[in-house]
Amino acid sequence: MAVSSKIIVRVEDLHKRYGSEEILKGVSFTVRQGEALAIIGPSGTGKSTLLRCINRLTEPDRGRIWLEETEITSPHTDINKIRQQIGFVFQDFNLFAHLTALDNVRLGLLKVKKLPKKEATERAMHELARVGLAEHAQKYPAQLSGGQQQRVSIARALAMDPKLMLFDEPTSALDPELIGEVLQVMQKLAEEGMTMIVVTHEMGFARSVCDQVIFMEKGVIVEQGPPEQIFTNPQQPRTRQFLGKISELYGGAGR
C-alpha cells in the first residue's frame, strides 16, 4: 500500500534526561499513514527511550507528540485512550506468563475495549491465525519458542486495532533461526499498510521493507532518508561508519 499524505505521528523537539545525562536532545520527525519507519543506531543512543516516549511509558521532559490530531503529550489527554491505539512490541516479548496465547491476545479486548467474550475470542483467534499461531492458542508462553512468543505479542498488539505499531528491537532476543518468522509477519504487516516505527539492527529488513530510515546517535537524529540513500549513499560520515560496523558484525545488509 502506498504511503498517504496523512500524518499519523508527529514528534516535535523531544527531550528526555535521566539524572545529569540528556538521553534525547531534541528529536523531531513525522510518520505518514502506511509508512514504515526504521530507526537504527548504536545501543545506548536513546532509541528505546524515544519509542517509550511516544506512548508515554516514559514521560518526556520537553517537546510535543501528536497521534493524528490528538496531542499525546498534553496533560489533558487520557493516555490510556491513546495507548489503545498504539501497539507496542517489546524486545523480550513480555507476554503475560499466567495466560495462554489466546488469553494474552484477548485480555485487552475484554478488559480495555470491553468487548463481549464471544466477539473478543473471535477477534483474538483471527489475530493468532494472522501470525500463523492459531493451533497454539491454548499454549502458555513458556511452552512457545521465542519466535512464537514474539508473534503472539504482535497479535496481542494488533487485536487492539492500532493506528500505529511500535517495535523495539523485536528480533534482538531471538535465536538467529527464529528471526525470519517474526520479520516475515512484520513485512506482511507493512505491506498491508500498517503504519509502523521499527527500532532494529536488521538492516536487510530496514532496507527492503521500510519507506524511511532514521539513523540516530547520542540522542539526536544524524541522518534521515529513504533506505536507498541511507544504505547506498549516506550523507553523514557517522552513518557510513555505523553501517560499516554493522555489516562487519552481522555479515552484510542483505539478510
Binding site: I82, A97, H98, Y140
Partner: protein, 231 residues
C-alpha cells in the same frame, strides 16, 4: 489400658468442639490477615513513598510484637477503653493483625517476583494501574504466594493456642480442662497433639492441591518437577 482408651473416646466430642473453635479462629484470622496483608504489600510496592513507609512501619511493629503480649494488651486495653469485644473477637483481631504483617511480606515477595516487563506491556495496552494489579499482578503473585501462605497457615494454627490466655476455649484449653478433670495430662495432650498434627497436615495438603490445580507451565516457583530436573 481399655479404660484409658474409653476416656479419650468420651473426651472426643469436647476435643472436637475445641478443634472447631481452633479452626474458626484460624480461618477468620487468616481472612483478616489476607485482606490487610495484601493491602500492606500493594502499598509497599506500588504506593507513593509516604504510604509505603506507613505500611512498612505497620508491618515492622506487628512483626516485632510477641503474640501473647499483644493479645493481653488488646484484651485489657480494649476493656479499659470501654470497648466490649468478646474474647473470641479480640483473638481474631489480634491474630489477624499479627498475621497480616507476615502475610504482607509473603505477598510483597511474590509481587516483586513478577517481571516488570509484563506491567509495561499491560500499560501499553491501555490498562489502568488497577486493571494491571487485578489482571496481571495478583493472579501471578497469589499463585506464587501459596507455598509461603501454607507455611503461614501452619504457623498461625498453632499460635491460636495463645487464645487460651484470654479465656477462649479452643483446642488447647479444652484439652487442659479435660486433663485437669481426669488427671490424665499426658494422654489428653497426646490426643490434642494428634489433632493439631491432623489439622496442619490436612490444611497444607489442601493448599498443595490448590497450588497444583492453579499451576501454570513456566511460572517460576511452581513445579517441583521442573526444579528437580535442573538441580
Amino acid at each position: 489400658m481399655l479404660d484409658k482408651l474409653l476416656l479419650i473416646w468420651e473426651s472426643l466430642p469436647l476435643l472436637i468442639r475445641g478443634a472447631i473453635v481452633t479452626l474458626e479462629l484460624t480461618m477468620s484470622l487468616l481472612a483478616i490477615g489476607f485482606v490487610l496483608g495484601l493491602i500492606v504489600a500493594l502499598g509497599q510496592v506500588y504506593g507513593p513513598r509516604p504510604i509505603a513507609m506507613l505500611m512498612s512501619g505497620y508491618e515492622r511493629f506487628f512483626r516485632a510484637m510477641p503474640i501473647l503480649v499483644l493479645l493481653i494488651v488488646f484484651f485489657y486495653g480494649l476493656a479499659f477503653l470501654g470497648v466490649s469485644l468478646p474474647a473470641f473477637g479480640t483473638a481474631v483481631l489480634v491474630f489477624g493483625l499479627h498475621s497480616s504483617a507476615y502475610q504482607s511480606q509473603i505477598f510483597r515477595g511474590s509481587i516483586q517476583a513478577i517481571k516488570p516487563g509484563q506491567i509495561l506491556a499491560a500499560r501499553a495496552l491501555g490498562m489502568t494501574r488497577l486493571q494491571v494489579i487485578r489482571y496481571i499482578t495478583l493472579p501471578q503473585a497469589l499463585r506464587l504466594a501459596i507455598p509461603g501462605w501454607s507455611n503461614e497457615y501452619s504457623g498461625v494454627l498453632k499460635d491460636t493456642s495463645f487464645a487460651f490466655a484470654i479465656g477462649v476455649t479452643e483446642l488447647a484449653r479444652q484439652g487442659w480442662q479435660i486433663a485437669t478433670r481426669t488427671r490424665e495430662m499426658f494422654l489428653v495432650f497426646i490426643s490434642v497433639a494428634l489433632i493439631y498434627l491432623l489439622l496442619t497436615y490436612l490444611g497444607t495438603w489442601l493448599l498443595e492441591l490448590l497450588e497444583r490445580y492453579l499451576s501454570v507451565p513456566g511460572l517460576a516457583g511452581q513445579r517441583r518437577e521442573e526444579h528437580g530436573r535442573v538441580v
